[in-house]
């Protein structure tokens, strides 16, 4: 547990720092939720709500990365999920029918799960490198989404219960936050209360040893890609419901990069093995808060990328024990022997 807390420490510090910057720029209101129409609002709650799709995707991505894989297709799957649901709803005569909405959501989830299973099969059974296997759907997936919508942006009536998925609230907390939090808990329970998490880490850490230990590594691989895709589909539904429309071309564009970024900021290594769901959640919040910070401190749009780069760089460096050792060296008492320059040897072996 101790190492776990240590891993989380730096991302948490960055997150807090960002929040403090925002408070300094816009006042304490930033963090304090407001209530209107019986729904929590306010800057920070909005950030959480908007981060929900990214969190969902990043959670799935965490599992995939734990198996030494990567899923580039999540952005496209996001678009597909959104497109299926919206198109199905707008084609129906009565968009407010609850059954229709459930049907549309179910169909979208089933299709995205199938897509995920397909990715998993490519990786596990055909032996295609994950980045290539999912690149195929990254390219084709948006095409499929556009095909579904005919290149249009289907707009669901505001009266349709579908939009509740993005705009509604339960016990004053916006539904997207509920969904993402429940998914976080569900995945955490699924991986940590069963042996799935350990088996995942084992498959990611050493696939051959896992096979010889009798683990169904192929089945597990398919499962994680399926879950990841399902999460992406769900994220797409929330995004679409929030807007009441599905933009096949731009929905979830480049979200895969943000998701991977969140996972890594959260302490999970891309080399597979150990994974940290809570770390991922914090990574997502950092990314979400960052976008707002740029506006709040009054930087122009041109700064969006630069600021993100700087924050990511700082997080990455702070997480590196070697960097901390190097930067703190002048402040430490010198050891008896002349200290070496940043000794590379040990770092490499420590991996």
């Amino acid at each position: 547990m101790n190492t776990y807390a240590k891993r989380l420490m730096w991302p948490v510090i960055i997150l807090v720092a960002l929040i403090v910057v925002n408070i300094a720029a816009t006042g304490i209101d930033f963090i304090i939720p407001t209530v209107n129409d019986g729904r929590l609002g306010g800057a920070f709650v909005n950030i959480l709500r908007r981060s929900a799709p990214l969190l969902l995707i990043a959670l799935g991505m965490t599992l995939v990365i734990a198996t030494k894989g990567i899923d580039l297709s999540v952005g496209a799957v996001y678009a597909i999920g959104a497109a299926i649901a919206c198109q199905m709803i707008i084609e129906a005569p009565d968009q407010t029918a609850l059954g229709l909405v459930f049907g549309a959501v179910a169909l979208a989830l089933v299709v995205t799960a199938v897509i995920g299973a397909w990715n998993g099969v490519m990786v596990a059974y055909f032996g295609v490198q994950p980045i290539v296997a999912t690149l195929i759907l990254m390219i084709a997936g948006r095409g499929i989404a556009q095909l579904i919508t005919g290149g249009q942006i289907p707009k669901v009536q505001d009266a349709s219960p579908f939009t509740e998925l993005g705009r509604g609230s339960f016990l004053a907390v916006p539904l997207p936050i509920w969904i993402a939090a429940l998914m976080l808990i569900a995945i955490a329970l699924l991986t940590r209360k069963t042996a799935l998490g350990m088996l995942l880490e084992s498959v990611g850490g050493n696939p051959e040893a896992s096979r010889l230990a009798g683990i169904r590594s192929k089945g597990i691989t398919v499962l994680v890609y399926l879950v990841c895709s399902l999460c992406a589909g769900l994220a797409g539904l929330i995004g679409a419901a929030n807007l009441g429309s599905a933009d096949a071309n731009n929905g979830g564009l480049w979200i895969e990069l943000d998701a991977i970024l969140a996972v890594v900021i959260g302490g999970t290594a891309l080399l597979g093995g150990r994974f940290f769901l809570l770390g991922t959640a914090i990574g997502v919040m950092i990314i979400g808060t960052l976008d707002d910070t740029i506006i709040n401190v009054g930087l122009s749009s041109q700064w969006q990328f630069t600021a993100k780069a700087i924050v990511v760089f700082v997080v990455a460096l702070l997480q590196s024990p070697e960097f901390r050792g190097w930067i703190l060296k002048p402040f430490k008492r010198q050891p008896d022997a002349p200290a070496p320059e940043p000794a590379p040897a040990e770092e490499v072996l420590a991996k």
């Binding site: 580039l72 055909f126 032996g127 295609v128 490198q129 980045i131 290539v132 296997a133 690149l135 195929i136 759907l137 990254m138 390219i139 084709a140 997936g141 948006r142 095409g143 499929i144 989404a145 556009q146 095909l147 290149g151 096949a248 990069l257 991977i260 970024l261 890594v264 900021i265 290594a269 891309l270 080399l271 041109q302 700064w303 969006q304 990328f305 630069t306 600021a307 993100k308 780069a309 700087i310 990511v312 760089f313 990455a316 460096l317 997480q319 590196s320 024990p321 070697e322 960097f323 190097w326 940043p342 590379p344 040897a345 770092e347 490499v348 072996l349 420590a350 991996k351």
Partner: protein, 341 residues
Amino acid sequence: MSTHQLTERPSRSTLFDGLTRYIPISATVALLIALYLGGVANYPNFDNPQVVAKLFIDNAPLLVIAVGMTFVILSGGIDLSVGSVMAFSTMACAWLTVEAGIAAPVALVLVLAFGTAWGLLIGAVIHYFDVQPFIATLVGLFLFRGLTLQISDTDVSMREIEFFQWGMTHVDFGNVRDGGFWLPYLSFVAFAVVIIAFVVLHYTRFGRGVYAVGGSEQSALLMGLPVARTKIGVYAVSGFCAALAGILAAFATKSANPLANVGAELDAIAAVVIGGTLLTGGAGFVLGTVAGVMVWGMLNTLIAFQGNLSSWWARIVMGILLLAFILLQRVLARSGEKRRT
């Protein structure tokens, strides 16, 4: 007692032992030829040699960044910053020559030096601070897109700078109208990069070190190889290649666009991997990358010749072609592996 031979390792099957590593690339080349013949059979004018030449005109910058990416991937890393560094380099060329009025050759040297220096820096961060390459270079992706936009948020023309005419100067091979083709100088720059990269990777200590580090970084270290130099070196190579690709792009269009090359890193990675290089490092060839870039370009050409695909069908067809290609490649590679044992 020990008159018998020490070990019983059979020295048979030596032929295939050395050749197995060529299976993925052979599969790629074979499929590339099949794609080309398919195009010739189906579309008029596809047999025009310019179709092939064109792969090296429009894809020259991609080829150059893919070569740099090959170094990085072979060493077991990844470089996501190439697209942005490339766009930044083009923009920097424009700014230095048009705004700052610096002589173009000087500007080019500055840009190349900057790209290399960036590679060195990020390589050092990756090596000494043990930051994951994906993240360290993702910083580059964001940073240079941001800096590019801060230099200019509109496209900038360099047409007034005489020097930039050089890149697109044609070299004709036969008359284009009856079966000849042409290539611009910048294609030859790309070819030169490929040849140099090939020689460096296969015939120098640095190159073999890249394979060794990719195979196992820890082993390479314990074998006494200069791991730090190698790891930092590959990012420097990639940074240099990205800057050079940016310059080639400047030659190709004589303009700089702040939103150019978004996602180019993925194209480059795809080309490298299609060319048979393993993302886990240690296995692959720079010539495979050339084949990978050609496949990428060929797929786009096929779609353009088909010409009646909507935006979405074009994407779907691209995905299907890529899928078919990768599965065939796997099948060929697997049957090749089987034959060995």
